[in-house]
Symmetry: none
Subunit: 531 residues, 2 copies
C-alpha cells in the first residue's frame, strides 16, 4: 500500500515566541533553525517580518534551512489593495519560500475584534493569496478561530476556507486559536471541511488549553488533513501549541498512523529527537520537563518494585515503545517503593557487581527503606546511593575525616553605616594523619562551608580540582519548626560527568555538609584516588 | 434530561506517589487528603497497605475524608487461598471503605511477568473480590494492561473484566498501563467491553505516554465508562496519569460533557481548583507548570499585542472559558492597566482601601514587578505583599529595629567523643530606644534565629505570644553557586489566622530573617500594636 505523505509545519519561532518567558534573539532563532534541520520538519515558520526589528532582520537575507522557510503575517487590511498594504509588502519583500497569512474565519471575530465586514474579510484573503502566488511564493492561510467560527456561523467559516483554496493557497490551515475545541468536534468539523477543500490541502493548528492539542491534531489527520502545525516541546502562548516532540514519535511508531502515512523524518532523525528537545530547553534556560512524553528524563523511568522486576524480564512489559528509537533511555529507580530488582539494575548501571542471592542485598534494601523513611531520597541521589551500596559491600576507603567545622553568619552595620551580612566557615580535616585547617567566606553559609572544605584536602586536592557544584536544592519535610531538611546537591566535573548526593538533618548546615562530603567522596572514588 | 453521574477516582497518593521525585510523608498524605476534600473527588486511593511502612500506618486507623477511602493492592497470589494470602489480609485489615485490586488482564503479562496461568489469574480475581465483598468492602478491580491485552488476546482480557464484575466488583477499571493506546483505540475497545460489563460499572485509568491521557479518558467516557481515575496535576510514573485538573473543568464547562453528565464537584469547588493545584506543588516543592491547562499561571495570559487589544474589547475573543470559573485569572502582560486592576483587587481582598487614580498604585505595581524579577513571590506571600503595599501608602509604623544578629553552627566532638552539632543565635534589637539582646539555641540556624528574635521584643512581647511558625519552605532559584534563595514562611496565631511572608537573598539566613521580620511585623499590625 502506498503511504500518504504528512507534512510537518514548525512554528516554534513564531507562535512559540509568544510563550510567556521566552524571548528569542536573532542568534537564538538561527540556532533553532539548525536544530529544526536535525528534526526534519517540512516548513520552518521564522517569524513576522515587519512586526518587529528582529523578524525583519531575520528575513532580510536568504537563510539556509532544509524545510521551506516561511514568513507569517496578516492578510491585507480592509480599504487597501494588496499592492498598497505595507504589511503585505513586508511579506513579499521577505526572503522566504512561503508566506503564511493569518485571516479570521469567525463572523464574531470579524465583527468584534476587526470591526470589519464578512465581504471585506473574504476579499482580503483572496487578494493577499493572489499577490503571494503572483510573486512566486507558496501561500498558506491560517484560518484563525476556525472551529469556534464554524460552530457559530458555518457558512462563513467554510467560505473563508474555500476562498483561500480557490485563490491558490497550497494549504488552508484550520486553527483552534483559543484551544478549547475537543477531539470529537475537530474530527466531525474537519470531515465537513473536506467536502469543500481537499484534505491534502488542509492543515491543523491546535492549542493545548484542554490538554488535547496532540489529540486534536491526530483527530484532524484521521479526518483528512495532511499538514500538522506545532512547536518543539509544545512552546506557545498560554498552554502552548501542539507538541511536535510527542506527535512525531506517535506518527512514526504507532501502527494506526505509521502504516498509513510517511513523514519527512528519518529513523536517524527520530533517534535525535530527545537531544533536540533538551538542546532547545538549554538554549532557553528552561528546566526540561522530566515527564514529557517520549523525550522526558522520566519518560521511561520505573520506580515501582513490581514493575521493575517485570522490566528486567522483558522491557516490553512496561514500555509502549523502545526508548532508543527516540534517543531516550530506560531508568530503573531506587526508592522505598523499590524491590530488589530496582537495586540490582541500578547497581549494574553504576558498575557494581553483586550476586542476586547475596544477603547484603537484602540488608542494603532495608537500609534504603529505613533511610528514605528518615527523609533521604536515593532515586534522585545516584552517587549517595552508590556510596551507600559500596559501603555495605565494604569497598569505600576512608579518604579523610572532618574533625570539626564552624559556620558563622553575621549581620551588622559596617563602618559606612550600611547593613551588611558576612558568612564565613572554618573546617578542620585530617588526611593521612595530617591536620589541615581552612577558612573561607561565601555568599551564604553553605557556600562558605563548601569553599573552606575544598580549599585544602592535602594529597587529594589534585583529584577534586575539576569538581564544581551545579545545583543545590532544599526541601523541608513535615514543615514547621520541627522540620527535617533534605538537601540535594548536583555536582559536575571536567569530564562532563554529573552526579547527585543527598543529606538529611534538622539542621540545614549539617544536611548540606553531608551531601557535600558524599560528592567529594564520590569524585575521589571515581578518580581511583589512593586511600 | 436527567444527567448521568460520572465518578472521579483520585490516585494522587498511590499512582501519583510513583512520580520520579515525589516522596510523600505521612503528614503529606494527610494534607493531600484534606486537599482532595476541597476538590470534591468521589474516591481517594490512599496507598498500598502492607507494601511499605508509611501506607500501612496510613490505613492503621480510620481517616476522615469525604470521598470513599480506598486501599490498593494485588489480588491473591497463585497457589494460595484468599484467606491465606498475606497481601489480601493486609487489605482486609486496612481501615478503608473500598479495596482496589490490581490484576493483569493481558495473557502476555500473565505468562511473562507473573509466570502464571490464565485460569489461576481468573481465580485470583474471583476469590479476591469475593473476599473483599464478604468483608463488607466495596471492591474495584484495576485491569492492568487491559488495552494491550485486548489487542493481543481479546477473549482473555474480556474474561478478566467479566470475572471481576460477576464476582461483585462495583467497578471494573480498564487500565492503559503502558500509556501507549490512542484515543480512537480506547473508544473502539471500550464500546466492545460495554457488551460484557455495563458502562456504569466501568472505569478508565490512562497514562500520558503519548500526551493523550486526558483525551483517552474523555474518549472512554464517550464510549460508556462512568468512572475516571486520575491525579492532581497529572502526577504519576513516567509521563504521569490523567490530569484531574484538566479533566474536571472540561467535564463541567464543555457542553458536550456538561449537558450529559454530572460530577460530585460543585461550582464553588471548581473555583478552588487552581488553588488546590498550586498548594500541592508547594507541598511537594515543585515549581508549578505555568502552562498547565486551566490552572497554570499562564493559562489565561496574553502576550501578543493583537490578542491583548481584542481581549480588552471582549475576553471571549481569546479565552475558551472564563478564568474565574476555575479560580484562575487573566493576565494581559503588555497592559499595566490590567496589572493595576489585579493589584486593586488584591488590596481590596486585604482590606486596604485605595483610589484607582492614586499615583502610588503605579509605583506599587512597578515595585512588585521589580521585586518579582528578583525572586519575590507575592502571589504566595500575602502578608509580605500587604506590608509592601502599606509601606508605600505610608501606614506601617517602625515597631522595632534589629541592629545586628549573628548565627553560629558548629560541629565537633563532645566530651563523650560523639560528633554533635550546635546552632545558636544572638540578636540585638532596639525597641522604643531600649536595646535588647537575646540569645538562643535551635535545632538549626534559622530556628535559633527565630527563637532569639521572638524571645524579647520588650513592650511588643504580649502581642506576639500567640505567634507560631507552621511551615518553612525554601526554593533555590537559578541553581548553581550563584543561586538566589527564596524562603516562604507560613505563620499562624491563637485566632486561627494564617499568613505567609517571603524573603529573598543569596544567603539563606538573610532570606529567612527577612521573612521572619515580615511575619512579626504583620502580626503586630494585625493586633493594632502601638508604635
Amino acid at each position: 500500500m502506498t503511504k500518504e505523505r504528512l507534512y510537518l509545519f514548525d512554528t516554534t519561532l513564531r507562535d512559540g515566541a509568544q510563550t510567556n518567558g521566552v524571548d528569542f534573539t536573532l542568534p537564538d532563532k538561527l540556532r533553532v533553525m539548525a536544530l529544526l534541520d536535525t528534526v526534519g520538519v517540512d516548513y520552518v515558520e521564522g517569524g513576522y517580518p515587519g512586526a518587529n526589528p528582529l523578524d525583519t532582520a531575520l528575513f532580510s537575507e536568504p537563510r539556509s534551512v532544509k524545510g521551506r522557510f516561511t514568513a507569517f503575517g496578516m492578510t491585507k487590511r480592509a480599504g487597501r489593495s494588496a499592492a498598497n498594504d505595507p504589511g503585505v509588502a513586508a511579506l513579499l519583500d521577505a526572503k522566504a519560500d512561503a508566506i503564511c497569512f493569518v485571516a479570521k474565519a469567525s463572523a464574531y471575530q470579524v465583527r468584534v475584534a476587526l470591526e470589519s465586514t464578512q465581504e471585506e474579510n473574504l476579499a482580503s484573503i483572496r487578494e493577499s493569496v493572489a499577490a503571494a502566488v503572483a510573486a512566486g511564493r507558496e501561500a498558506l492561510v491560517d484560518c484563525e478561530h476556525f472551529f469556534d467560527g464554524f460552530k457559530e456561523n458555518r457558512t462563513f467559516a467554510l467560505a473563508c476556507a474555500r476562498t483561500a483554496y480557490e485563490a491558490g493557497a497550497r494549504w488552508v490551515v484550520l486553527c483552534d486559536t483559543n484551544g478549547g475545541t475537543l477531539p470529537n468536534e475537530v474530527e466531525a468539523i474537519v470531515a465537513e471541511v473536506t467536502q469543500v477543500v481537499p484534505g491534502d490541502h488542509l492543515g491543523i493548528h491546535a492549542h493545548n488549553d484542554t490538554e488535547q492539542a496532540v489529540a486534536n491534531s491526530l483527530a484532524a489527520v484521521r479526518a483528512g488533513v495532511r499538514q500538522i502545525q506545532g512547536t518543539l516541546n509544545g512552546l506557545g502562548e498560554r498552554c502552548g501549541n501542539a507538541n511536535l516532540c510527542s506527535l512525531i514519535p506517535t506518527l512514526l511508531l504507532k501502527p494506526d498512523f505509521a502504516e498509513r502515512f510517511e513523514l519527512g523524518v528519518t529513523p536517524d532523525q527520530l533517534a535525535d529527537l530527545t537531544h533536540a528537545s533538551r538542546v532547545l530547553d538549554e538554549m532557553l534556560n528552561r528546566a526540561p520537563n522530566r515527564h514529557a512524553p517520549y523525550v522526558g528524563e522520566s519518560a521511561f523511568a520505573t520506580k515501582a518494585g513490581i514493575h521493575a522486576s517485570a522490566i528486567l524480564k522483558d522491557p516490553a512489559t512496561y514500555e509502549h515503545v523502545a526508548p532508543e528509537l527516540v534517543g531516550n533511555r530506560r531508568r530503573v529507580m531506587v526508592s522505598d517503593q523499590a524491590g530488589k530488582s530496582n537495586v540490582i539494575a541500578e547497581l549494574e548501571r553504576l558498575g557494581v557487581d553483586v550476586d542476586r542471592k547475596d544477603p547484603r542485598l537484602t540488608r542494603l534494601l532495608d537500609e534504603v527503606k529505613e533511610r528514605e523513611s528518615l527523609g533521604y531520597a536515593y532515586e534522585a541521589a545516584d552517587a549517595s546511593f552508590a556510596l551507600l551500596a559500596r559501603r555495605m559491600l565494604g569497598t569505600v576507603p576512608d579518604f579523610f575525616e572532618v574533625e570539626r567545622f564552624s559556620v558563622n553568619v553575621e549581620r551588622r552595620y559596617n563602618a559606612r553605616g550600611e547593613m551588611t551580612t558576612v558568612a564565613e566557615a572554618i573546617v578542620k580535616v585530617q588526611v593521612d594523619g595530617e591536620v589541615l585547617i581552612s577558612a573561607a567566606e561565601g555568599n551564604g553559609p553553605v557556600n562558605a562551608l563548601d569553599v573552606a572544605l575544598r580549599k585544602d584536602l592535602g594529597k587529594y586536592q589534585p583529584f577534586i580540582s575539576g569538581l564544581r557544584l551545579t545545583d543545590y536544592r532544599v526541601r523541608i519535610l513535615d514543615g514547621g519548626t520541627e522540620a527535617i531538611t533534605r538537601v540535594l546537591i548536583e555536582s559536575a566535573d571536567e569530564t562532563g560527568a554529573r552526579w547527585t548526593t543527598v543529606g538529611v538533618s534538622p539542621n540545614i548546615i549539617d544536611a548540606s555538609f553531608e551531601a557535600l562530603i558524599d560528592s567529594i567522596t564520590w569524585k575521589l572514588l571515581k578518580e581511583g584516588a589512593p586511600e
